[in-house]
């Protein structure tokens, strides 16, 4: 509760209150209470403003574009939410989706994290109950900003827990506009991460609180927070590994306590049982290698407890030492044997590729091309750290310094969270998101502690001249004496300069965040916007044009083959069955599509016939200069296809290790299905003034094969800017 705040005056409040102190120092007693009230009012209003700010900063996308769902995965989430609100929870839970992964289908209920959809549906139903007849799309669009606002509240309480209320307020303000978080939570970004970061931070906060108080109720709260996290995002694995690691560190550093024992045991056991209720997770907590660390630490806790008890019973230290040695060895031995047997018998599944690729950044590149092909799984560049964290990057080490200076169970936790998540953020771009709360919290400690130190310096200074002012010039002696002690005037000016510097930095941060949000992170990626020759805004709405064409003008049972990136969008917006989609659960199926795309037309035709494909959809940026099209993704199709079907060989598509589409391209490249579909009749088109026909603006070359004939496919539709091209697969010709 905000009411029982820290006894120490809060820096910002103190600053505001200082004029009062100066003007009326006579009735100190009555003022003290007033200051506290003022402080509370100030704190609540700052929090309220931060809450609103976090929400409205994320509405740029709605203002710039429209209230729409962004990107790829959110379309699946939106489609499932729609299903949930229309058909109810049990239908949703038992949903077998035959519209994706044709002919395999997908058991939706058992292969998704339902937290996000259930949350949105609950909000929707509540609003309807309150007679607000909103559309489910609006609820989905605004779920992420809403949860971002809630995250600021959690950040405040977390900051208060690990440092003080000032740090909490700064943390709330920092996280409200941090680009690393905004990138995944703008309005319309209806993805699991939107609620998961809230759940993650909530779980951590409640756990830290539980460790601090040793209270069962906080531990229970943390278990429920964990359950919500498990239901919302696969990133819960981070929690179930970080918390045991933290406990282990506390054990090693000799900080074992009954509080820790209660908190961890309750959280682990209850959290595990609750998590098993999510079908997609099931028994993984006891069967999968990724969750074994938590179990190991759980057992270790029991050994510790047991040893503690024995130590209490035995008064003989020597006897206890031998007992300790025996117990620890046997415990480790038993644990090791159990793990070995479990792994060998297949009861405990080994680590998954995704987990490996987190620990070893080069693993995915060599072994799992499908993970490596996703741009958000690439290692993070320094520039994106700078882009997403800005000044937090410098404040983070400073915050670590303050944390180490005042080490407690809570600060150890935040340090560990910060360091591990920052490592993962370096491995994968998208995990910047997970590190953001920690970075914000630690930076907030730095900011808060610095500002507090500086203002306290200023305030002690202000008091001296005030009391001495009556004496006037006569006080110079005393002041020179102080100068000798602490070199005060320099201190004072320095403090003011530093404070100004801090506020300058913070204001730069705010400007940077606003700019990044409005320019970089608010694009829905479905609608592309460009600047025209006269500075006017040109909108390329080709994706929706194509999807709506599919929805309206193809048979309802048509099967569409495309690269998996567009699968979710085709099912959600085009309402047609797809062969593969963004849920990359079956690598072979994706490889088959990759193989079809990289084969000659007649070979591809056989594959497409076997998959009942009616339409093929390709994305092509040659006319508009849109670079993330299928030709640029083509090498991944070759690699993924070649990973399963050795007939497809990457060197066949390269010339001297170079990927080309012009005259110098390899013959296989010039005649494969993807090339033909992208460039069909493109050779007749003049795309840029002063350039030959068939000039590809995305790659800046004249294409190598301008005379493309299609035998088994025909052009069914091409969007107005050629970004999406749809081909119809012809039925087989009659045999003569």
């Amino acid at each position: 509760m905000a009411a029982n705040g820290s006894p120490k005056p809060e820096p910002m409040a103190a600053k505001k209150a200082s004029p009062d102190l100066l003007n009326s120092s006579f009735s100190f007693k009555s003022l003290k209470l007033k200051t506290k009230q003022q402080e509370l009012l100030l704190r609540v209003s700052i929090l309220g403003l931060v809450y609103v700010l976090a929400f409205i900063a994320r509405l740029f996308s709605v203002l710039r574009y429209e209230s729409m769902i962004h990107e790829f995965d959110p379309y699946f989430n939106y489609r499932t939410t729609l299903f949930l609100t229309e058909k109810g929870f049990y239908e949703f839970w038992n949903w077998f989706d035959s519209e994706s992964w044709y002919p395999l289908g997908r058991i939706i209920g058992g292969t998704l994290y339902p937290g996000l959809m259930v949350t949105a549906a609950l909000i929707y139903w509540t609003l309807r109950f309150l007679r607000f007849f909103v559309h489910i799309r609006e609820v989905c669009v605004l779920t992420a900003p809403f949860f971002a606002s809630n995250t600021t509240l959690v950040a405040y309480f977390f900051g208060k827990e690990i440092w003080d209320t000032g740090a909490g307020l700064v943390a709330a303000a920092l996280i409200a506009i941090c680009p690393g978080y905004i990138s995944r939570s703008v309005a319309g970004s209806y993805d699991n991460e939107a609620v998961a970061i809230f759940a993650l931070l909530l779980t951590f906060y409640l756990f830290v609180k539980a460790v601090k108080t040793g209270s069962l109720s906080w531990a229970l709260g943390s278990a429920f927070g964990y359950f919500y996290m498990v239901s919302a995002w696969g990133g819960y694995v981070f929690i179930i590994n970080l918390v045991p690691l933290y406990v282990l560190v506390l054990l090693i550093t000799g900080r074992y306590s009954m509080r820790l024992y209660v908190a961890y045991n309750c959280m682990y056991i209850l959290g595990m049982l609750l998590a098993m209720q999510i079908r997609f997770v099931g028994f993984q907590h006891v069967q999968s290698g990724e969750h074994m660390a938590a179990m190991g630490v759980f057992l270790l806790m029991q050994v510790f407890y047991f040893l503690d008890w024995v130590k209490h019973q035995l008064n003989d230290t020597k006897l206890f030492q031998t007992f300790l040695r025996i117990t620890v060895t046997s415990a480790i031995l038993v644990g090791g044997i159990a793990l070995g047997v479990g792994t060998a018998s297949g009861y405990i599944s080994p680590w998954t590729g995704r987990f490996y690729s987190l620990l070893d950044p080069t693993y995915a590149k060599d072994h799992i091309p499908i993970i490596a092909s996703v741009s958000e799984h690439q290692p993070t560049a320094w520039s994106s750290f700078m882009f997403d964290y800005h000044i937090l990057l410098f404040l983070f080490p400073a915050g670590l310094y303050f944390c180490f200076k005042r080490l407690s169970d809570a600060t150890i936790f935040i340090v560990m969270y910060g360091l591990t998540s920052l490592y993962f953020a370096g491995v994968m771009v998208r995990l910047i998101l997970v590190a953001t709360p920690a970075v914000c919290l630690i930076s907030a400690i730095a900011v808060s502690a610095t500002v507090k130190n500086l203002t306290s310096l200023l305030r002690t200074k202000q008091k001296v001249p005030q009391t001495g002012s009556a004496k006037g010039v006569g006080s110079s002696k005393s002041s020179s004496k102080v100068t000798l002690d602490q070199s005060q005037p320099f201190h004072k000016n320095g403090a003011i300069a530093l404070l100004v510097g801090v506020f300058y930095l913070l204001s730069r941060y705010a400007i940077h965040c606003t700019w990044v949000t409005s320019e970089a992170y608010s694009s829905p990626s479905i609608v592309l916007a460009a600047r025209g020759a006269h500075g006017n805004r040109i909108i390329f709405d080709d994706y929706r044009e194509a999807y709506y064409w599919l929805r309206q003008n193809t048979p309802t049972d048509a099967k569409v083959m495309s690269w998996w990136d567009y699968g979710y969008q085709i099912t959600a917006m085009g309402n047609r069955t797809v062969i593969v989609d963004n849920n990359t659960w079956n690598n072979t199926h994706i490889a088959t599509v990759g193989r079809a795309m990289s084969s000659y037309e007649d070979e591809a035709y056989d594959i497409m016939r076997s998959l009942d494909v009616n339409y093929v959809l390709v994305v092509f940026g040659g006319v508009t200069g849109y670079s993330s099209d299928d030709i640029n993704k083509f090498l991944w199709m070759v690699r993924i296809g070649g990973g399963v079907y050795p007939v497809i060989k990457e060197p066949d598509y390269l010339v001297n290790g170079e990927f080309r589409v012009d005259k110098g391209a390899s013959p296989k490249m010039l005649n494969c299905l993807m090339y033909k579909l992208c460039y069909y009749r493109f050779g007749e088109l003049v795309t840029e003034y002063g350039k030959p026909t068939g000039y590809d603006r995305a790659r800046g070359v004249e294409i190598g094969n301008k005379d493309i004939k299609l035998e088994h496919l025909e052009e069914a539709y091409t969007t107005s800017n050629w970004i999406v091209r749809i081909y119809r697969v012809k039925p087989p010709t009659n045999r003569l």
Binding site: E66, M68, R131, F132, F133, I526, V527, I539, D541, R544, E545, Y547, Y548, W549, R551, Q552, N553, M573, R681, F682, E684, L685, E714, E715, A716, Y717, T718, T719, S720, W722
Partner: protein, 469 residues
């Protein structure tokens, strides 16, 4: 189809001659001169029929019959009749009452409309009538499927002579085609073609129910924009605006598109490819329209332009893709107009809404139009809403729930099939209204907030701890 119509027409003709004698009652009138001009330039077929009617009986005639073959009666969207009064320069037109009627012994299911004269036609008197009738879905594409580069050819079936239960002394029929390209037309001598016009007649002294089937096969590339279903919702808010939402299900009703759609052909040789397709539509909206939006199931569509004017506003918009034969598009157009332009107070104290019926899209056929007028007042405030229209529609009452509604809003539902632009005429919905109900929802919100604050106040002051701190 063509063959069937032929056989049918012959059958009609035969039946007509056989059953001639049974229609003696209608013989009191005769048509001295009939001139028919049929405009085939768009997919809405407009026929202008000028009849000079004479009473040759002994008794004054109060009304006369217009007959239509059954193939036309089901596509007949509208029949209007005007009586021409006065001589050349001082001509005035008097609208006459026209309503569908049944004749017990109609030959071959011919349909009838009864035109009531303004004053009964005395024996020996003549009157000149201008009849306008509009046919939809009467142009039959042939060939049924065309490719992108072909232009669209259609059949039109009609009779060279006017179908009438009366004796017609002299008559002529003109068909106006959209272009000079006419593949063929049935020749019923005398018949000839000049430019865009085909002339049948003049024919002298045709007996009642004469029928001479003709088929005109010609090129028609006008946009065959057919709205399969249109749901217009008009929501009256007494806070000052009228919100109109129109849900369209549009299709291209012409010859079906076959095979390839080539973008390169479509954008570089626009004049010769896809000539029957259309990609731009025009909606005529009321003046002072604001907050116009144009979107569909998956979001906003950015290709639209609005021009507002004093008399009307024009919304020019494009569907996401050009529509070729058989292609569909669904979309929603919504807009807001100020309430004072459309809501008035009747002398008896009731309020009435005066708004335009029909579809705002120009040159479109609407197969099924549902107009929902939602009254944003509580039911007890709006007893017995009633609609007044110049033609018959199905009427119904519904209850709809919207923002902050507890009892729901009364919705007057008007339904009509086969609507053409000539149906865009004003209609009125009358209802009673008490202004006090406007305050219901704000008061509800205020009390809800009040409740929240009171509970939070109470919560702060109540100590729920078991142990005293």
């Amino acid at each position: 189809m063509a063959a069937r119509n032929w056989i049918f027409a012959v059958a009609v003709a035969v039946a007509v001659f056989l059953s001639l004698s049974t229609f003696s009652s209608a013989q009191d009138l005769q048509i001295v001169n009939a001139e028919r001009r049929i405009d085939l330039s768009s997919h809405i077929v407009k026929a202008f029929l000028t009849l000079k009617v004479e009473n040759i009986g002994k008794d004054p005639a109060a009304d006369m019959l217009l007959a239509f073959p059954p193939t036309q009666i089901k596509n007949l969207a509208m029949v209007q009749a005007l009586a021409v009064m006065g001589k050349k320069k001082k001509k005035t037109y008097l609208p006459l009452d026209v309503k569908p009627t049944e004749q017990p012994d109609a030959p071959n299911d011919a349909g009838y409309f009864l035109v009531s004269f303004a004053t009964p036609l005395g024996p020996g008197e003549t009157v000149t009538l201008e009849v306008l009738y509009i046919l939809t879905h009467s142009l039959e594409p042939f060939p049924v499927e065309i490719t992108q580069s072909e232009s669209q050819l259609v059949y039109y079936h009609d009779s060279a002579v006017v179908l009438s239960p009366y004796h017609v002394k002299q008559q002529t029929t003109f068909f106006k085609t959209p272009s000079t390209r006419v593949e063929s037309f049935t020749s019923v001598e005398p018949a000839n073609r000049a430019g865009k016009e085909i002339k049948y007649g003049p024919y002298e002294d045709r007996a009642p129910y004469s029928y001479a089937p003709v088929i005109v096969h010609f090129e028609n590339n006008s946009p065959f924009a057919v709205v399969e279903e249109l749901v217009r919702e008009i929501e009256i808010s007494h806070w000052g605006s009228l919100q109109i939402t129109e849900n369209y299900r549009l299709t291209h009703g012409g010859a079906r598109h076959k095979g390839v759609f080539s973008r390169v052909e479509y954008q570089s040789r626009r004049s010769i490819t896809g000539s029957s397709s259309f990609n731009a539509l025009l909606a005529v909206l009321p003046p002072r329209v604001n907050s116009v939006y144009y979107r569909d199931d998956i979001g906003n569509i950015s290709t639209s332009h609005l021009r507002t004017g004093f008399k009307k506003s024009e919304l020019e918009f494009e569907p996401r893709y050009p529509l070729f034969g058989g292609w569909r598009a669904t979309f929603v157009i919504g807009y807001r107009v100020p309430l004072e332009d459309y809501l008035f107070e009747a002398p008896d104290g009731r309020r009435y809404l005066n708004f335009t019926f029909g579809c705002p899209l120009v040159e479109t056929i609407v197969n099924k139009l549902t107009l929902k007028v939602g009254l944003v007042v509580l039911p007890e405030g709006s007893k017995d809403p009633s609609a007044v229209l110049p033609f018959t529609v199905n009427q119904d009452l519904q209850v709809k729930y919207s923002y902050l509604d507890i009892v729901g809003r009364t919705v007057v539902v008007l339904q009509k099939d086969n609507v053409v632009p000539t149906h865009n005429v004003p209609f009125q919905v009358y209802y009673t209204f008490k202004p006090i109900y406007m305050l219901a929802e704000p008061l509800m919100l205020v009390s809800a907030f009040f409740f929240v604050f009171v509970t939070s106040l109470a919560y702060v002051h109540i100590d729920l701890n078991i142990v005293k701190k």
